[in-house]
């Protein structure tokens, strides 16, 4: 089977799968590469999903299964593979996995998301899987009737805490802020405050996790007074933010100082034809719905990019005869007039193929040839610019023909 696609999406979370739905529905030959056994990304490890518009009653897992089914309905191909390298050679992008498999595409969408941040406190690594957990749905059954601690106070921390109270005896949230202050949305805070099983320790951080073979308790530190205290528990859940999965992209696309992919509103990275969507890109709101929105934008952009490049390659760069390219736009009357004048030239005067490029729809090509004023006319022979006339007269155009 061929390993060449129109569109490759790295990562099968909500952003990646929504890109896939839009991409494959637009008839792009689309591949999703997911590093994990199961698609769904971060929501696949969560339980509650109360704010996805139009789907009032669902779970995070179910919603992600539906995303996948939806993408498959339009023939998106899914493969497993952890991407280790992305190389951009103009129109051809090459994606290489850890196992050495190589895939090629005209456009690539980065949707690798973010993974739970580790705090690096004493006992965290040693007791992982022995009471230290990053996944409430995985481990909820184990902690039935036991006492647990949750570190963090954002949306995930509060939502997962509420879920865990269906199982545990008592849950203590360790909050770094002043009493009553949490990063989570108000509606979630209220639910947590009303929950009899949830207690709060304010102005505090976990300094150390204690236990030999299993978690036995935590050492808390009040950040205002510096005072330390111990709290017995069997489980410690971490929901303290996330870090983007972008190590493999360092030399390929521009990243922010915190490692997020830098994009504009159109999801474009600094590499033409490479986009980033969802939690991996630099933005403020990171929700399933915003990830899905990013995906729709990127897929539409990618489709436009592929069409633009293919048209240009086929009709201009690979043309056997010289090509006269007229850059125009519907918002610029002079440019439209000039295009019709050129089109009216008879074949005696015109020894070139004539190609019109709408600068509004073809930003990439226009930028590549530094088109600042329109109309601009460029003569291209064997793929190279031979003449470039900015706002020319018809006479000047005749001279270069």
């Amino acid at each position: 089977m061929s390993n060449t696609y129109d569109l490759i999406i790295i990562g099968g979370g909500p952003a990646g799968m929504s890109t896939a739905i839009y991409g494959s529905r637009s008839r792009l030959d689309t591949l999703v590469l997911e590093a994990k056994r199961k698609t769904g990304g971060q929501p696949a490890t969560y339980h509650d999903m109360e704010n996805y518009p139009g789907v009032p009653e669902t779970t995070a897992q179910e919603l992600m299964d539906n995303f996948r089914e939806h993408a498959e309905k339009f023939n998106t191909e899914f493969k497993r593979g952890e991407v280790q390298d992305l190389t951009v050679n103009g129109f051809e992008k090459v994606v290489t996995t850890k196992k050495g498999e190589e895939y090629k595409a005209k456009s690539v969408v980065i949707a690798t998301g973010a993974e739970p941040r580790k705090l690096g406190i004493e006992g965290e690594e040693e007791l992982k899987g022995k009471g230290v957990s990053y996944c409430a749905t995985c481990d909820a059954d184990i902690f039935e009737g036991l006492d647990v601690v949750v570190i963090g106070n954002g949306n995930s921390a509060v939502e997962e805490s509420i879920y865990l109270t269906k199982f545990v005896n008592k849950l203590t949230m360790i909050v770094i802020h002043d009493e009553g202050v949490m990063d989570a949305e108000k509606i979630l805070q209220e639910k947590a405050m009303e929950n009899d099983k949830i207690e709060f320790v304010w102005n505090s951080v976990v300094d150390e996790i204690k236990g030999e073979e299993m978690v036995e308790g935590v050492v808390l530190k009040n950040i205002k007074t510096g005072e330390k205290s111990e709290l017995d528990c069997h489980g410690v859940f971490f929901f303290v933010g996330r870090v983007p999965n972008t190590d493999f992209l360092k030399d390929t696309v521009e990243l922010t100082e915190h490692g997020y992919v830098d994009t504009n509103d159109e999801m474009e990275t600094d590499q033409p034809g490479v986009y980033a969507v969802g939690d991996v890109r630099n933005k403020v709101v990171r929700q399933v719905i915003t990830a899905a929105g990013d995906g729709a934008t990127a897929a539409v952009m990618a489709q436009g990019y592929i069409e633009e490049e293919e048209y240009w390659q086929k009709n201009v760069i690979e043309s056997d005869e010289p090509v006269l390219v007229g850059f125009w736009s519907v918002t610029h009357q002079d440019s439209m007039d000039m295009m019709s004048e050129i089109e009216c030239m008879n074949s005696d005067e015109m020894d070139c193929r004539f190609v019109k490029i709408d600068t509004y729809k073809n930003r990439l090509i226009s930028n590549r040839y530094d088109i600042e004023e329109i109309p601009t006319v460029v003569k291209i022979v064997d793929g190279e610019v031979e003449e470039k006339l900015v706002e020319p007269t018809v006479e000047e155009i005749r001279e270069i023909l």
Binding site: R37, T45, G129, T137, C138, I142, M214
Partner: protein, 105 residues
Amino acid sequence: MLELGKENFEEEVLNSEGIVLVDFWSENCDLCLDLMPEVEELAEEYGDQVKFAKLDIKGNRRLAIGQKVLGLPSIVLYEDGEKVEHLSGDEVEAEDIKAAIEERI
């Protein structure tokens, strides 16, 4: 795969000679449900050299905690009743389990 519970764990695992693999899982653990078919495949491949068993945490939590299993999914290998390997968490791959088995048969 052999279903384990309070009544047979000691006999089938702790008092069993040779290698026993126990897959600790639960209905609420999606990762466990995803991993299970891959463990079943390994059971087909190595079934004659290793005893494959699974333990549902539900109703057997104390037993699991007694085996120091506090994270799911957990794949634990026993050799002559002694715990010799414990693979746990969302990064457990079938290949890791396979390697752990290969190392001991």
